[in-house]
């Protein structure tokens, strides 16, 4: 029986990849372990090793083909004694593996088609972008890298340190190219010693250098949280204003895909709790670029919470020489009249999709992208709530003592008389992140949950 060679999944977030190169030709003998092809994933170029042995009977996907889906048949391997005639039989057989095996979890649920009667969607321009500015497409990953490179060019006191940031070009490829441009003095690979290098960074910052400390993920910043809170956040106050810590702690935060309880946690509310810190959680590439540049220039410690799943997402970004966004200012992503949806970071992906669907149902949602968690731009939220009378917050974090809880508190305090319904929140479930695909999906928020919450506050359920 010929053996199908399928497009392999090569990273937790990979859904498709480019078949960059075949290293074996049709008719070549292949042993298990031989490298047969090179595949470009969202993060890297990977070699594909043969699992079985035989003769490469037919190549089904030519090299150079983009967007080959995981599990698509890419070639057929002939076993001992088989010849090409076996291929016809194989070709007509249905592709296996799809029956019971879960495909890698799609990073995002498939977007629903716009409803035919959907009212026109009002997407206000970003007031921070001058009128007439050219836009270009950028992934969040590129935007972060460009922000750091621009600030490092601008200011010799800015340097970056962290695990695998230099020679490996970043575990998630955020620092790609920085070592080449700025050299090992300013792009520094550290040992796996988070508490130590976070403290070292704060110490350097106390003298006026401007470190960017990358945590491979924020889960590992828990090793270092004492230095972030007890040293970085409090020194300015404790020194009576003599010295602070102009430092950025950045890295992916929150759930990636299927990495389990110890690697999937959103720390926004943890850091937002602490006076002396600024906390930023960007959603789009423009947020990422403009806010990271602002964070690096900020004289205070800034915790900059990125998201691995968003890294590969592309957005329009202003093509400006020096695009800096203000920390502490929310953005109205979409104007609306019936309900206010407040979200930030990856929570925005559910929110924007829900807003689309709600529009189709005749409900006009105003979507606020917070951008910064601390200081919280409650004024933008209040202005919207005073208009709509209803508010739903959306985030992936646990519900207890969450950012949502704080927003609900401030809204009831300052806009109580304007509310026509209780403040509702859609959050991650109150459980450690499970590994199983079905449970993980249940643990995270979903677009239907957002829609249900909106129906509840608009009494349209």
């Amino acid at each position: 029986m010929p053996i199908d060679i399928l497009m392999p999944a090569l990273s937790p977030t990979m859904e498709e990849g480019k078949l960059a190169k075949w290293l074996k030709a049709e008719g070549d003998t292949v042993s298990a372990g031989d490298v047969i092809a090179e595949i470009e994933t969202d993060k890297a170029t990977m070699e594909v090793e043969a699992v079985d042995e035989g003769v490469l009977g037919k190549i089904l996907v030519a090299e150079g083909t983009d967007a080959v889906k995981v599990n698509e048949k890419i070639a057929v391997l002939l076993g001992e004694g088989e010849d090409a005639s076996a291929l016809d039989a194989a070709a007509s057989a249905p592709a296996p593996a799809a029956d019971n095996g879960p495909a890698p979890v799609p990073a995002q649920p498939v977007a629903s088609a716009p409803h035919p009667q959907a009212p026109a969607i009002d997407t206000p321009a970003d007031p921070e972008v001058p009128e007439g500015t050219q836009m270009k497409s950028s992934t969040v990953r590129e935007a972060l890298r460009d922000a750091m490179a621009e600030e490092m060019r601008r200011d010799g006191d800015v340097f970056i340190m962290g695990e695998e940031v230099a020679e490996y070009q970043g575990a998630y490829k955020i620092t790609q190219g920085l070592l080449d441009e700025f050299g090992p003095k300013r792009v520094i690979d550290t040992p796996i010693t988070e508490h130590g290098f976070a403290g070292l960074g704060v110490g350097a910052a106390m003298t006026g250098l401007k470190p960017i400390v990358e945590f491979m993920t924020f889960n590992f910043a828990m090793q270092a949280i004492d230095q972030i809170i007890n040293s970085a956040a409090k020194t300015l106050y404790m020194s009576g204003g003599q010295m602070g810590a102009p430092i950025v702690f950045r890295g992916p935060n929150g759930a990636a895909a299927r990495v389990g309880a110890q690697h999937s946690q959103d720390y926004a509310s943890w850091y937002a709790h602490v006076p002396g810190l600024k906390v930023v959680q960007p959603y789009s590439a423009a947020d990422a670029k403009g806010l990271l540049k602002a964070a690096i220039r900020d004289p205070n410690p800034v915790v900059f919470l990125e998201n691995e799943i968003l890294y590969g997402h592309s957005f329009e970004i202003p093509d400006m020489e020096d695009f800096v966004l203000p920390i502490g200012k929310a953005k109205i992503e979409r104007a609306g009249t019936d309900v206010t949806l407040v979200s930030w970071g990856i929570g925005m992906t559910y929110t924007m999709k829900a807003a689309d669907e709600l529009a189709g149902m005749g409900i006009s949602a105003e979507v606020i992208n917070l951008r910064t968690i601390r200081p919280l731009d409650i004024d933008t939220v209040l202005a919207s709530v005073r208009k709509t009378g209803r508010i739903v917050t959306i985030e992936e974090a646990f519900p207890m003592c969450s950012v949502s809880a704080e927003i609900a508190y401030q809204v009831q305090e300052q806009a109580f008389d304007y509310l026509d319904a209780p403040v509702l929140r859609v959050t991650g479930k109150d459980v450690p992140m499970p590994y199983a695909a079905n449970l993980e999906k249940l643990a995270l928020p979903s677009v239907p949950e957002v829609i249900d919450a909106v129906k509840a506050v608009t009494y349209t359920a």
């Binding site: 399928l6 392999p8 999944a9 090569l10 990273s11 937790p12 990979m14 298990a32 994933t41 993060k43 890297a44 170029t45 990977m46 070699e47 594909v48 699992v51 995981v70 599990n71 593996a97 019971n100 095996g101 879960p102 495909a103 890698p104 979890v105 695990e163 695998e164 020679e167 490996y168 575990a171 690979d189 040992p191 796996i192 010693t193 508490h195 130590g196 889960n219 590992f220 828990m222 090793q223 990636a256 895909a257 299927r258 990495v259 389990g260 309880a261 110890q262 690697h263 479930k429 459980v431 450690p432 499970p434 590994y435 199983a436 695909a437 079905n438 449970l439 249940l442 643990a443």
Partner: protein, 350 residues
Amino acid sequence: MATATKSTTGTGARTTGRSRGAAKKAAPAIAEFDKDQELHAYKEMLLIRRFEEKAGQLYGMGYIGGFCHLYIGQEAVVVGMQMAKKDGDQMITAYRDHGHMLAMDLDPKGVMAELTGRRGGLSKGKGGSMHMFSKEKHFYGGHGIVGAQVSLGTGIGFANKYRENGNVCMTFFGDGAANQGQIYESFNMAALWKLPVIYVIENNRYGMGTSVERASSTTDLSQRGVSFGIPGEQVDGMDVRAVMAASENALEYCRAGKGPFILEMITYRYRGHSMSDPAKYRSKDEVQKMRTEHDPIEQVRARLLDANWATEDELKAIDKDVRARVAEAAEFAQTDPEPDPSELYTDILL
């Protein structure tokens, strides 16, 4: 039969005693294995190798998600330690844990089904590749945070002493992990209180993409306990006999109430750090050289054939048997249902 007084297939581990470091111990001579031991080691290591190959395959097919760290190349470390331990001794390690579980006699079906996130998995599908445990088999996980398991293992050693049960906790960590601060806090307490813990440093030369030389100011990790008075030695971790001999010695030391012991196993991982690592930080030649010259399984295989303790056919039969066990595990892991949705809210608090 190959004489085993000096390893000719070693990885370059310096196994002779040197004067540097007060606590430096000479590694004991490599124990000769008898036929049963060689066969046992062969089967156990082969099971891990085939299991990991299958896991890699299932990852590529999308059955396994997230991170998946394979143990291929390092099999002799955990199997040699298993052969030296006694029932009741515990193991705890990081996320590169499938081999440890198989060596602790956990059912390959349960391990594989955990990798695929199914209800028959060891953690009911809720833990995944990096987080698996078995109280029954004295396996304490499976930890995703680099270095955290070292303090936990020290605590398990503390409990052994508290209960006076004579058990030793084998606490594994990597060369990269060896720079984490809590390890040294643990070393101090373990030495201060004479806790029965073996710190097993699996030095596979890289922590993700960073070589030991680029991460550590001193690279003889066996000497990391010197300032606490903890003896340590380097062991050829590609030779299962050397591992077993060193482990027996260390276990005896711990059981005698003398405190902790450090074993630095010089080993190598053939695959990338995890499934998504293109491994550009080392040459193909380097990997190939380790595979052809130091493979832990090939060494045993050669000795078995050399001594006429097994024929090619008999070894093939073993391989077939192992493959069948792995295939059965994979089949189970692909067909077992996902956890019931109600499991989302169980096991959070008692």
